[in-house]
Subunit: 227 residues, 2 copies
DNA sequence: CTGCCCCGTTAAGGCGCCGTGAAGATCCTT
DNA sequence: AAGGATCTTCACGGCGCCTTAACGGGGCAG
Protein backbone atom coordinates (compact mmCIF):
# COMPACT_ATOMS: atom_id res chain seq x y z
CA UNK A 1 0.00 0.00 0.00
CA UNK A 2 1.17 3.48 -0.76
CA UNK A 3 2.16 5.36 2.36
CA UNK A 4 1.83 9.13 2.67
CA UNK A 5 3.58 11.12 5.39
CA UNK A 6 1.68 14.29 6.26
CA UNK A 7 3.64 16.99 8.08
CA UNK A 8 1.30 19.78 9.15
CA UNK A 9 0.60 21.52 12.44
CA UNK A 10 -2.99 22.48 11.64
CA UNK A 11 -4.68 19.55 13.23
CA UNK A 12 -8.12 20.09 11.75
CA UNK A 13 -6.83 20.37 8.24
CA UNK A 14 -4.45 17.46 8.64
CA UNK A 15 -7.19 15.28 9.98
CA UNK A 16 -9.49 16.07 7.07
CA UNK A 17 -6.75 15.35 4.57
CA UNK A 18 -5.81 12.13 6.29
CA UNK A 19 -9.40 10.95 6.12
CA UNK A 20 -9.61 11.74 2.43
CA UNK A 21 -6.40 9.90 1.77
CA UNK A 22 -7.35 6.85 3.77
CA UNK A 23 -10.71 6.74 2.01
CA UNK A 24 -8.81 6.40 -1.25
CA UNK A 25 -6.71 3.55 -0.04
CA UNK A 26 -3.57 5.31 1.08
CA UNK A 27 -1.76 4.51 4.29
CA UNK A 28 -1.18 7.76 6.22
CA UNK A 29 1.37 8.78 8.85
CA UNK A 30 1.09 12.22 10.42
CA UNK A 31 3.48 14.58 12.15
CA UNK A 32 2.78 18.01 13.60
CA UNK A 33 6.32 19.39 13.89
CA UNK A 34 9.37 19.42 11.66
CA UNK A 35 11.39 17.29 14.03
CA UNK A 36 8.67 14.71 14.23
CA UNK A 37 8.36 14.77 10.46
CA UNK A 38 12.03 14.07 9.92
CA UNK A 39 11.87 11.31 12.48
CA UNK A 40 8.87 9.65 10.84
CA UNK A 41 10.33 10.03 7.39
CA UNK A 42 13.34 8.04 8.50
CA UNK A 43 11.36 5.54 10.48
CA UNK A 44 8.28 4.97 8.35
CA UNK A 45 9.65 4.91 4.80
CA UNK A 46 6.79 6.86 3.19
CA UNK A 47 6.31 6.74 -0.58
CA UNK A 48 5.50 10.44 -0.69
CA UNK A 49 5.59 13.34 1.77
CA UNK A 50 3.15 16.24 2.02
CA UNK A 51 4.89 19.08 3.86
CA UNK A 52 3.29 22.26 5.11
CA UNK A 53 5.81 25.09 5.10
CA UNK A 54 4.07 27.00 7.87
CA UNK A 55 5.32 24.92 10.74
CA UNK A 56 6.15 26.19 14.21
CA UNK A 57 9.74 25.72 15.28
CA UNK A 58 11.99 24.49 12.51
CA UNK A 59 11.49 26.26 9.21
CA UNK A 60 9.73 24.13 6.63
CA UNK A 61 12.51 24.67 4.14
CA UNK A 62 15.02 23.29 6.61
CA UNK A 63 12.89 20.19 6.99
CA UNK A 64 12.96 19.81 3.24
CA UNK A 65 16.72 20.21 3.14
CA UNK A 66 17.04 17.73 5.98
CA UNK A 67 15.10 15.21 3.94
CA UNK A 68 17.02 15.83 0.77
CA UNK A 69 20.27 15.16 2.56
CA UNK A 70 19.60 11.47 2.48
CA UNK A 71 16.45 10.60 0.55
CA UNK A 72 14.89 11.30 -2.83
CA UNK A 73 11.33 10.53 -1.74
CA UNK A 74 8.85 12.82 -3.57
CA UNK A 75 7.71 15.87 -1.58
CA UNK A 76 4.70 18.10 -2.18
CA UNK A 77 4.91 21.40 -0.36
CA UNK A 78 1.82 23.22 0.92
CA UNK A 79 1.90 26.87 1.83
CA UNK A 80 -0.37 29.75 2.64
CA UNK A 81 2.12 32.18 1.17
CA UNK A 82 1.38 33.27 -2.37
CA UNK A 83 4.72 34.91 -3.00
CA UNK A 84 6.54 33.55 -5.95
CA UNK A 85 10.02 33.64 -4.39
CA UNK A 86 9.00 31.13 -1.75
CA UNK A 87 7.77 28.80 -4.47
CA UNK A 88 11.04 29.01 -6.31
CA UNK A 89 13.02 28.51 -3.13
CA UNK A 90 11.03 25.45 -2.15
CA UNK A 91 11.20 23.88 -5.59
CA UNK A 92 14.92 24.48 -5.82
CA UNK A 93 15.42 23.12 -2.33
CA UNK A 94 14.14 19.80 -3.61
CA UNK A 95 10.34 19.97 -3.56
CA UNK A 96 8.59 18.22 -6.42
CA UNK A 97 5.44 20.31 -6.35
CA UNK A 98 4.11 23.38 -4.58
CA UNK A 99 0.45 23.98 -3.82
CA UNK A 100 -0.89 27.23 -2.42
CA UNK A 101 -3.65 27.26 0.18
CA UNK A 102 -6.52 27.34 -0.16
CA UNK A 103 -6.75 24.54 -2.68
CA UNK A 104 -9.20 21.86 -3.65
CA UNK A 105 -8.75 18.45 -2.20
CA UNK A 106 -9.24 16.94 -5.63
CA UNK A 107 -6.38 18.95 -7.04
CA UNK A 108 -4.03 17.87 -4.30
CA UNK A 109 -4.98 14.26 -4.81
CA UNK A 110 -4.47 14.58 -8.55
CA UNK A 111 -1.03 16.08 -8.01
CA UNK A 112 -0.25 13.27 -5.62
CA UNK A 113 -1.22 10.73 -8.27
CA UNK A 114 0.84 12.50 -10.92
CA UNK A 115 3.88 12.54 -8.68
CA UNK A 116 3.57 8.92 -7.64
CA UNK A 117 3.13 7.93 -11.27
CA UNK A 118 6.36 9.72 -12.12
CA UNK A 119 8.41 8.73 -9.11
CA UNK A 120 7.39 5.10 -8.82
CA UNK A 121 7.81 3.95 -12.38
CA UNK A 122 7.84 0.50 -13.90
CA UNK A 123 8.03 -1.46 -10.70
CA UNK A 124 9.74 -4.45 -12.20
CA UNK A 125 9.82 -7.87 -10.61
CA UNK A 126 10.19 -7.41 -6.89
CA UNK A 127 11.28 -11.01 -6.84
CA UNK A 128 14.73 -12.49 -6.63
CA UNK A 129 15.70 -16.10 -7.02
CA UNK A 130 19.07 -17.66 -6.40
CA UNK A 131 20.21 -21.25 -6.18
CA UNK A 132 19.76 -21.20 -2.44
CA UNK A 133 16.76 -18.99 -1.65
CA UNK A 134 13.93 -16.88 -3.03
CA UNK A 135 12.90 -13.39 -1.99
CA UNK A 136 9.63 -11.64 -2.73
CA UNK A 137 10.23 -8.02 -1.89
CA UNK A 138 6.62 -7.00 -2.41
CA UNK A 139 5.17 -9.70 -0.20
CA UNK A 140 8.10 -9.57 2.20
CA UNK A 141 8.48 -13.31 2.17
CA UNK A 142 11.59 -15.41 1.94
CA UNK A 143 12.01 -19.09 1.32
CA UNK A 144 14.86 -21.56 1.12
CA UNK A 145 15.57 -23.53 -2.05
CA UNK A 146 13.37 -26.41 -0.89
CA UNK A 147 10.46 -24.05 -0.27
CA UNK A 148 10.55 -23.90 3.51
CA UNK A 149 9.75 -20.36 4.57
CA UNK A 150 12.42 -18.24 6.25
CA UNK A 151 11.46 -15.57 8.75
CA UNK A 152 13.26 -12.22 8.63
CA UNK A 153 12.79 -9.45 11.19
CA UNK A 154 11.98 -5.89 10.05
CA UNK A 155 15.58 -4.70 10.31
CA UNK A 156 16.80 -7.74 8.48
CA UNK A 157 14.30 -7.02 5.70
CA UNK A 158 15.48 -3.44 5.55
CA UNK A 159 19.05 -4.51 5.01
CA UNK A 160 18.15 -7.20 2.49
CA UNK A 161 15.86 -4.89 0.56
CA UNK A 162 18.36 -2.09 0.14
CA UNK A 163 21.08 -4.47 -0.94
CA UNK A 164 18.89 -6.45 -3.33
CA UNK A 165 17.49 -3.33 -4.96
CA UNK A 166 21.06 -2.39 -5.71
CA UNK A 167 22.05 -5.81 -6.94
CA UNK A 168 25.65 -5.94 -8.03
CA UNK A 169 26.34 -2.44 -6.81
CA UNK A 170 28.32 -1.58 -3.75
CA UNK A 171 26.20 0.05 -1.05
CA UNK A 172 28.24 2.12 1.38
CA UNK A 173 27.80 1.55 5.09
CA UNK A 174 26.58 5.11 5.44
CA UNK A 175 23.89 4.73 2.80
CA UNK A 176 22.75 1.43 4.19
CA UNK A 177 22.41 2.87 7.67
CA UNK A 178 20.61 5.95 6.40
CA UNK A 179 18.17 3.95 4.32
CA UNK A 180 17.33 1.39 6.98
CA UNK A 181 17.76 3.20 10.29
CA UNK A 182 17.57 6.88 9.31
CA UNK A 183 20.05 9.71 8.83
CA UNK A 184 21.05 10.06 12.47
CA UNK A 185 22.37 6.51 12.62
CA UNK A 186 24.95 6.80 9.90
CA UNK A 187 27.82 6.02 12.27
CA UNK A 188 26.39 2.93 13.94
CA UNK A 189 28.40 0.45 11.94
CA UNK A 190 27.97 -2.07 14.75
CA UNK A 191 24.42 -2.63 13.57
CA UNK A 192 25.56 -3.68 10.15
CA UNK A 193 27.90 -6.34 11.44
CA UNK A 194 25.18 -7.82 13.64
CA UNK A 195 22.48 -7.79 10.99
CA UNK A 196 24.61 -8.98 8.14
CA UNK A 197 25.56 -11.90 10.32
CA UNK A 198 21.87 -12.61 10.96
CA UNK A 199 20.94 -12.36 7.29
CA UNK A 200 23.76 -14.67 6.32
CA UNK A 201 22.87 -17.18 8.99
CA UNK A 202 19.35 -17.36 7.57
CA UNK A 203 20.01 -17.18 3.83
CA UNK A 204 23.56 -18.19 3.00
CA UNK A 205 24.24 -21.91 2.55
CA UNK A 206 27.59 -21.46 4.30
CA UNK A 207 27.41 -18.32 6.40
CA UNK A 208 31.14 -18.38 7.06
CA UNK A 209 31.79 -18.09 3.31
CA UNK A 210 29.13 -15.74 1.90
CA UNK A 211 28.18 -16.16 -1.75
CA UNK A 212 25.50 -13.49 -1.95
CA UNK A 213 25.99 -10.89 0.75
CA UNK A 214 29.55 -9.79 0.22
CA UNK A 215 31.57 -7.52 2.48
CA UNK A 216 33.83 -4.97 0.87
CA UNK A 217 36.11 -4.08 3.77
CA UNK A 218 36.22 -0.40 4.58
CA UNK A 219 33.57 0.44 2.01
CA UNK A 220 30.28 -1.37 2.42
CA UNK A 221 28.29 -4.40 1.29
CA UNK A 222 27.13 -5.86 -1.98
CA UNK A 223 24.45 -8.33 -3.02
CA UNK A 224 25.20 -10.54 -6.01
CA UNK A 225 22.78 -13.17 -7.20
CA UNK A 226 24.76 -15.46 -9.46
CA UNK A 227 28.30 -16.81 -9.77
CA UNK B 1 21.90 20.10 -23.76
CA UNK B 2 18.40 19.87 -22.35
CA UNK B 3 15.74 20.33 -25.00
CA UNK B 4 12.33 21.87 -24.26
CA UNK B 5 9.39 21.57 -26.63
CA UNK B 6 7.00 24.49 -26.30
CA UNK B 7 3.49 23.95 -27.68
CA UNK B 8 1.55 27.20 -27.56
CA UNK B 9 -0.43 29.19 -30.08
CA UNK B 10 0.08 32.58 -28.46
CA UNK B 11 3.09 33.65 -30.44
CA UNK B 12 4.09 36.60 -28.30
CA UNK B 13 4.02 34.60 -25.12
CA UNK B 14 5.78 31.64 -26.67
CA UNK B 15 8.51 33.85 -28.02
CA UNK B 16 9.13 35.47 -24.64
CA UNK B 17 9.30 32.10 -22.94
CA UNK B 18 11.61 30.71 -25.58
CA UNK B 19 14.00 33.59 -25.07
CA UNK B 20 14.02 33.09 -21.32
CA UNK B 21 14.71 29.41 -21.73
CA UNK B 22 17.48 29.86 -24.26
CA UNK B 23 19.10 32.46 -22.04
CA UNK B 24 19.33 29.80 -19.37
CA UNK B 25 20.99 27.31 -21.62
CA UNK B 26 18.06 25.23 -22.78
CA UNK B 27 17.54 24.17 -26.35
CA UNK B 28 14.01 25.12 -27.45
CA UNK B 29 11.69 23.76 -30.14
CA UNK B 30 8.35 25.46 -30.68
CA UNK B 31 5.00 24.41 -32.13
CA UNK B 32 1.84 26.46 -32.47
CA UNK B 33 -0.73 23.72 -33.03
CA UNK B 34 -1.44 20.38 -31.48
CA UNK B 35 -0.63 18.47 -34.63
CA UNK B 36 2.67 20.25 -35.00
CA UNK B 37 3.40 19.61 -31.35
CA UNK B 38 2.86 15.86 -31.66
CA UNK B 39 4.96 15.83 -34.79
CA UNK B 40 7.84 17.66 -33.12
CA UNK B 41 7.62 15.57 -29.99
CA UNK B 42 8.14 12.45 -32.08
CA UNK B 43 10.77 13.99 -34.25
CA UNK B 44 12.81 16.13 -31.89
CA UNK B 45 13.08 13.93 -28.77
CA UNK B 46 12.59 16.71 -26.23
CA UNK B 47 13.56 16.19 -22.59
CA UNK B 48 10.48 18.03 -21.36
CA UNK B 49 7.32 19.46 -22.96
CA UNK B 50 5.46 22.65 -22.02
CA UNK B 51 1.92 22.36 -23.33
CA UNK B 52 -0.68 25.12 -23.42
CA UNK B 53 -4.18 23.65 -23.13
CA UNK B 54 -5.83 26.55 -24.97
CA UNK B 55 -4.92 25.47 -28.44
CA UNK B 56 -7.04 25.99 -31.54
CA UNK B 57 -8.07 22.82 -33.32
CA UNK B 58 -7.22 19.70 -31.38
CA UNK B 59 -8.04 19.86 -27.71
CA UNK B 60 -4.99 20.18 -25.50
CA UNK B 61 -6.00 17.14 -23.50
CA UNK B 62 -6.05 15.07 -26.66
CA UNK B 63 -2.53 16.19 -27.44
CA UNK B 64 -1.52 15.06 -23.99
CA UNK B 65 -3.20 11.68 -24.45
CA UNK B 66 -1.55 11.39 -27.85
CA UNK B 67 1.82 11.90 -26.24
CA UNK B 68 1.19 9.49 -23.41
CA UNK B 69 0.37 6.78 -25.88
CA UNK B 70 4.00 6.31 -26.66
CA UNK B 71 6.25 8.44 -24.45
CA UNK B 72 6.75 9.18 -20.78
CA UNK B 73 8.53 12.46 -21.37
CA UNK B 74 7.62 14.94 -18.61
CA UNK B 75 4.87 17.43 -19.51
CA UNK B 76 3.99 20.71 -17.83
CA UNK B 77 0.54 21.97 -18.75
CA UNK B 78 -0.27 25.68 -18.93
CA UNK B 79 -3.81 26.94 -18.87
CA UNK B 80 -5.85 30.10 -18.52
CA UNK B 81 -8.69 28.13 -17.00
CA UNK B 82 -8.84 28.26 -13.23
CA UNK B 83 -11.37 25.53 -12.84
CA UNK B 84 -10.23 22.70 -10.68
CA UNK B 85 -11.80 19.92 -12.75
CA UNK B 86 -9.59 20.77 -15.71
CA UNK B 87 -6.52 20.52 -13.50
CA UNK B 88 -7.52 17.12 -12.28
CA UNK B 89 -8.32 15.94 -15.78
CA UNK B 90 -5.00 17.10 -17.14
CA UNK B 91 -2.99 15.61 -14.30
CA UNK B 92 -4.83 12.31 -14.59
CA UNK B 93 -4.35 12.34 -18.34
CA UNK B 94 -0.64 12.19 -17.75
CA UNK B 95 0.54 15.74 -17.06
CA UNK B 96 3.28 16.08 -14.48
CA UNK B 97 2.47 19.62 -13.46
CA UNK B 98 -0.20 22.22 -14.10
CA UNK B 99 0.38 25.96 -14.00
CA UNK B 100 -2.38 28.51 -14.27
CA UNK B 101 -1.92 31.70 -16.25
CA UNK B 102 -0.93 34.28 -15.38
CA UNK B 103 2.19 33.00 -13.66
CA UNK B 104 5.69 34.23 -13.02
CA UNK B 105 8.41 33.13 -15.33
CA UNK B 106 10.61 32.26 -12.37
CA UNK B 107 8.00 29.89 -11.04
CA UNK B 108 7.66 28.09 -14.34
CA UNK B 109 11.41 27.75 -14.60
CA UNK B 110 11.63 26.42 -11.07
CA UNK B 111 8.93 23.85 -11.81
CA UNK B 112 10.80 22.88 -14.94
CA UNK B 113 13.96 22.34 -12.92
CA UNK B 114 12.10 20.30 -10.31
CA UNK B 115 10.58 18.10 -12.97
CA UNK B 116 13.82 17.55 -14.84
CA UNK B 117 15.56 16.74 -11.58
CA UNK B 118 12.99 14.05 -10.88
CA UNK B 119 12.53 12.68 -14.38
CA UNK B 120 16.09 12.65 -15.64
CA UNK B 121 18.21 10.93 -13.09
CA UNK B 122 19.15 8.75 -16.06
CA UNK B 123 22.68 8.59 -14.78
CA UNK B 124 24.49 7.38 -17.83
CA UNK B 125 26.80 4.52 -17.12
CA UNK B 126 29.89 5.63 -15.28
CA UNK B 127 31.67 2.77 -16.94
CA UNK B 128 35.12 2.63 -18.43
CA UNK B 129 36.22 -0.08 -20.81
CA UNK B 130 39.67 -0.71 -22.19
CA UNK B 131 41.13 -3.61 -24.11
CA UNK B 132 42.40 -5.14 -20.90
CA UNK B 133 39.83 -4.36 -18.19
CA UNK B 134 36.53 -2.69 -17.37
CA UNK B 135 35.68 -0.45 -14.44
CA UNK B 136 32.23 0.37 -13.10
CA UNK B 137 32.70 3.35 -10.86
CA UNK B 138 29.13 3.37 -9.52
CA UNK B 139 29.08 -0.29 -8.58
CA UNK B 140 32.73 -0.24 -7.58
CA UNK B 141 33.49 -3.34 -9.57
CA UNK B 142 36.47 -4.11 -11.74
CA UNK B 143 36.98 -7.00 -14.13
CA UNK B 144 39.69 -8.23 -16.44
CA UNK B 145 39.11 -8.55 -20.19
CA UNK B 146 37.97 -12.15 -19.79
CA UNK B 147 35.43 -11.14 -17.17
CA UNK B 148 37.15 -12.43 -14.06
CA UNK B 149 36.54 -9.98 -11.27
CA UNK B 150 39.42 -7.98 -9.85
CA UNK B 151 39.37 -6.86 -6.24
CA UNK B 152 40.52 -3.36 -5.37
CA UNK B 153 40.92 -2.04 -1.83
CA UNK B 154 39.42 1.31 -0.77
CA UNK B 155 42.64 3.24 -1.29
CA UNK B 156 43.17 1.62 -4.64
CA UNK B 157 39.65 2.61 -5.67
CA UNK B 158 40.32 6.12 -4.52
CA UNK B 159 43.37 6.43 -6.73
CA UNK B 160 41.71 4.80 -9.72
CA UNK B 161 38.59 6.91 -9.39
CA UNK B 162 40.39 10.24 -9.28
CA UNK B 163 42.56 9.34 -12.25
CA UNK B 164 39.72 7.91 -14.33
CA UNK B 165 37.44 10.86 -13.68
CA UNK B 166 40.21 13.02 -15.09
CA UNK B 167 40.85 10.77 -18.04
CA UNK B 168 43.60 12.08 -20.28
CA UNK B 169 44.44 14.89 -17.91
CA UNK B 170 47.47 15.08 -15.67
CA UNK B 171 46.64 14.83 -11.96
CA UNK B 172 49.33 16.27 -9.72
CA UNK B 173 50.61 14.21 -6.83
CA UNK B 174 49.35 16.84 -4.44
CA UNK B 175 45.84 16.76 -5.81
CA UNK B 176 45.75 12.99 -5.84
CA UNK B 177 46.87 12.80 -2.23
CA UNK B 178 44.39 15.45 -1.15
CA UNK B 179 41.48 13.81 -2.94
CA UNK B 180 42.14 10.29 -1.68
CA UNK B 181 43.83 10.71 1.69
CA UNK B 182 42.81 14.23 2.71
CA UNK B 183 44.47 17.63 2.79
CA UNK B 184 46.96 16.81 5.54
CA UNK B 185 48.59 14.06 3.52
CA UNK B 186 49.67 16.11 0.56
CA UNK B 187 53.38 15.35 1.11
CA UNK B 188 53.14 11.59 1.52
CA UNK B 189 54.27 10.79 -2.00
CA UNK B 190 55.41 7.39 -0.79
CA UNK B 191 51.78 6.31 -0.75
CA UNK B 192 51.38 7.02 -4.43
CA UNK B 193 54.30 4.85 -5.45
CA UNK B 194 52.98 1.95 -3.41
CA UNK B 195 49.40 2.23 -4.61
CA UNK B 196 50.17 2.91 -8.23
CA UNK B 197 52.25 -0.25 -8.16
CA UNK B 198 49.30 -2.17 -6.70
CA UNK B 199 46.84 -0.78 -9.23
CA UNK B 200 49.14 -1.62 -12.12
CA UNK B 201 49.78 -5.11 -10.83
CA UNK B 202 46.04 -5.71 -10.79
CA UNK B 203 44.96 -3.95 -13.99
CA UNK B 204 47.86 -3.50 -16.39
CA UNK B 205 48.65 -6.41 -18.72
CA UNK B 206 52.37 -5.71 -18.26
CA UNK B 207 52.82 -3.80 -15.05
CA UNK B 208 56.43 -2.98 -15.82
CA UNK B 209 55.31 -1.14 -18.96
CA UNK B 210 52.09 0.70 -18.07
CA UNK B 211 49.66 1.46 -20.89
CA UNK B 212 46.92 3.10 -18.84
CA UNK B 213 48.29 4.49 -15.60
CA UNK B 214 51.13 6.69 -16.76
CA UNK B 215 53.72 8.39 -14.57
CA UNK B 216 54.70 11.93 -15.44
CA UNK B 217 58.01 12.19 -13.55
CA UNK B 218 58.14 15.04 -11.09
CA UNK B 219 54.57 16.05 -11.76
CA UNK B 220 51.93 13.41 -11.24
CA UNK B 221 49.95 10.66 -12.91
CA UNK B 222 47.60 10.31 -15.85
CA UNK B 223 45.01 7.77 -16.92
CA UNK B 224 44.50 7.17 -20.63
CA UNK B 225 42.03 4.63 -21.91
CA UNK B 226 43.21 3.82 -25.43
CA UNK B 227 46.48 3.67 -27.28
C1' DC C 1 82.02 8.77 -14.64
C1' DT C 2 79.58 9.74 -10.44
C1' DG C 3 76.34 11.44 -7.36
C1' DC C 4 71.56 12.75 -6.72
C1' DC C 5 66.75 12.62 -7.35
C1' DC C 6 62.72 10.24 -8.44
C1' DC C 7 60.31 6.18 -9.10
C1' DG C 8 59.11 1.04 -8.72
C1' DT C 9 59.14 -2.98 -5.85
C1' DT C 10 58.79 -5.73 -1.87
C1' DA C 11 58.04 -6.98 2.79
C1' DA C 12 57.03 -6.51 7.66
C1' DG C 13 54.60 -4.48 11.52
C1' DG C 14 50.60 -2.63 13.55
C1' DC C 15 46.09 -1.19 13.69
C1' DG C 16 41.52 -0.84 12.11
C1' DC C 17 37.71 -3.35 10.47
C1' DC C 18 34.87 -7.29 10.50
C1' DG C 19 32.50 -11.64 12.27
C1' DT C 20 30.68 -13.77 16.28
C1' DG C 21 28.42 -14.76 20.52
C1' DA C 22 25.95 -13.09 24.25
C1' DA C 23 23.71 -10.14 27.53
C1' DG C 24 20.84 -6.22 28.61
C1' DA C 25 17.13 -3.08 26.91
C1' DT C 26 12.97 -2.34 24.54
C1' DC C 27 8.83 -3.29 22.08
C1' DC C 28 4.74 -5.97 21.26
C1' DT C 29 1.39 -9.44 22.17
C1' DT C 30 -1.26 -12.21 25.17
C1' DA D 1 1.55 -8.11 34.08
C1' DA D 2 4.22 -11.55 31.88
C1' DG D 3 6.50 -13.56 28.15
C1' DG D 4 8.70 -13.74 23.74
C1' DA D 5 10.66 -11.52 19.89
C1' DT D 6 13.49 -7.97 18.37
C1' DC D 7 16.83 -4.37 18.78
C1' DT D 8 20.95 -2.38 20.82
C1' DT D 9 25.33 -2.63 22.97
C1' DC D 10 29.68 -4.70 24.09
C1' DA D 11 33.99 -7.46 24.07
C1' DC D 12 37.09 -10.51 21.87
C1' DG D 13 39.83 -12.71 18.23
C1' DG D 14 41.42 -12.81 13.54
C1' DC D 15 42.49 -11.11 9.16
C1' DG D 16 43.31 -7.75 5.75
C1' DC D 17 44.62 -3.23 4.68
C1' DC D 18 47.44 0.72 5.42
C1' DT D 19 51.59 2.55 6.63
C1' DT D 20 56.41 2.69 6.70
C1' DA D 21 61.00 1.59 5.50
C1' DA D 22 64.74 -0.25 2.76
C1' DC D 23 66.74 -1.37 -1.66
C1' DG D 24 67.56 -1.05 -6.61
C1' DG D 25 67.33 1.10 -11.12
C1' DG D 26 67.14 4.78 -14.45
C1' DG D 27 67.67 9.55 -15.99
C1' DC D 28 70.10 13.81 -15.64
C1' DA D 29 73.58 17.22 -14.49
C1' DG D 30 78.00 18.29 -13.10
Amino acid sequence: MTKVLLIDDEVRFARALAISLRARGYDVDTATTGEEGLEQAAHGHPDVIVLDLGLPGIDGLDVLRGLRGWTTVPVIVLSARHGEPSKVDALDAGADDYVTKPFGMDELLARLRALLRRAAPADDEPRVTTDDFTLDLAAKTAAAADGTPVHLTPREWGVVEVLVRNEGKLVSQKQLLQDVWGPQYERETDYLRVYLAAVRRKLEPDSSRPKYFITEPGMGYRFQSGR
